[in-house]
Subunit: 213 residues, 2 copies
Amino acid sequence: MKLYTFFRSSASYRVRIALNLKGLEYEQVPVHLRRGGGEQHGTAYKKINPQELVPALEINGRTLIQSLAIIEYLDERYPDPPLLPSDPADRALARSMALMIACEIHPLQNLRVLNHLKASHHQSDEDVNRWARHWIDLGLASLERLVSAGPTCEFCVGDRATLADICLVPQLANARRFGSDLSDFPTLVRIEERCNALPAFERARPENQPDAE
Amino acid sequence: MKLYTFFRSSASYRVRIALNLKGLEYEQVPVHLRRGGGEQHGTAYKKINPQELVPALEINGRTLIQSLAIIEYLDERYPDPPLLPSDPADRALARSMALMIACEIHPLQNLRVLNHLKASHHQSDEDVNRWARHWIDLGLASLERLVSAGPTCEFCVGDRATLADICLVPQLANARRFGSDLSDFPTLVRIEERCNALPAFERARPENQPDAE
């Protein structure tokens, strides 16, 4: 099992957490997103992932892309421990929280979008930081409302880490990098602490990866 | 079953297709995204969806949000006909294509993002159209490469409509609205034609909705 990854990529971070929670061994192949204009745009990597993004996972003779699709695959092929609740409506709730991050926050603040704002839309470093914080703060505020509206649990949905928590922890790390004030999101921060106390989350942190700088 | 929807919202369009493919009856509750500053921001709707986005689906006593989470729920609760292939790696492939649209294209070109670019980042109508087309063209080019790299099929993955096709058709409609040149994506356009020949897709089209303008 081979994971094409970048230590600081949130989507790679999600898949690392999932693999660790499942107790699966994997080899890391670093793809540096900044070096030489981005190794993800090289001919070699384009054959692995035509979308030129990380992560990609080589597994059982296939190459899978898109972090949430990879994690759903892992959950179907290696069901123990489950990364989604068993009740269908609770599964939908966990997936919707994950998608609130993966669709509505992360794509707006990732590196290629910020670079494009600077290069093609005359935005300064300060402008793009303000842009990123806007979408992070708006998205996390919705998520805080949704999570805190449910019963008090150890994790986003229930008392076991799910896809929602797997997306939450890397997004809060990004929020800190952009200078968001996380005191508005006490429920999310409490859940993050609970997650980071687990070895699967701890080992997946950017600073604990072989390609960390 | 009650679907909070807006005729022109791509995410609502996806759920309408899925409900139609499953043969499920549903009541439409229109939420107008432009009228009065956006009905999705009103107090009443905020209680239904704290993220203030459409769609939301009231079903079996719960309210579900995020189109892909809703569709996965429908596929689990009403498995016939399936909206994902049966092979786990093919399921991952269909999901990854759906996510390439739902994470990497649609969130960058939706109404609230374009409005924010204009209101807070001094971008003109022409600037935001150029921005939207950039992400649409880049994303569809990756998707065209991925879909055409596989075996020739009637749909994105295999010979039955899946989650990938459900996301593709609304995204191509958006691409046309922004003036993208779709002749670069012949495989995607061929699949779109095949989809739109199905009554489930036809009935879900924005112009065929009760709230269409």
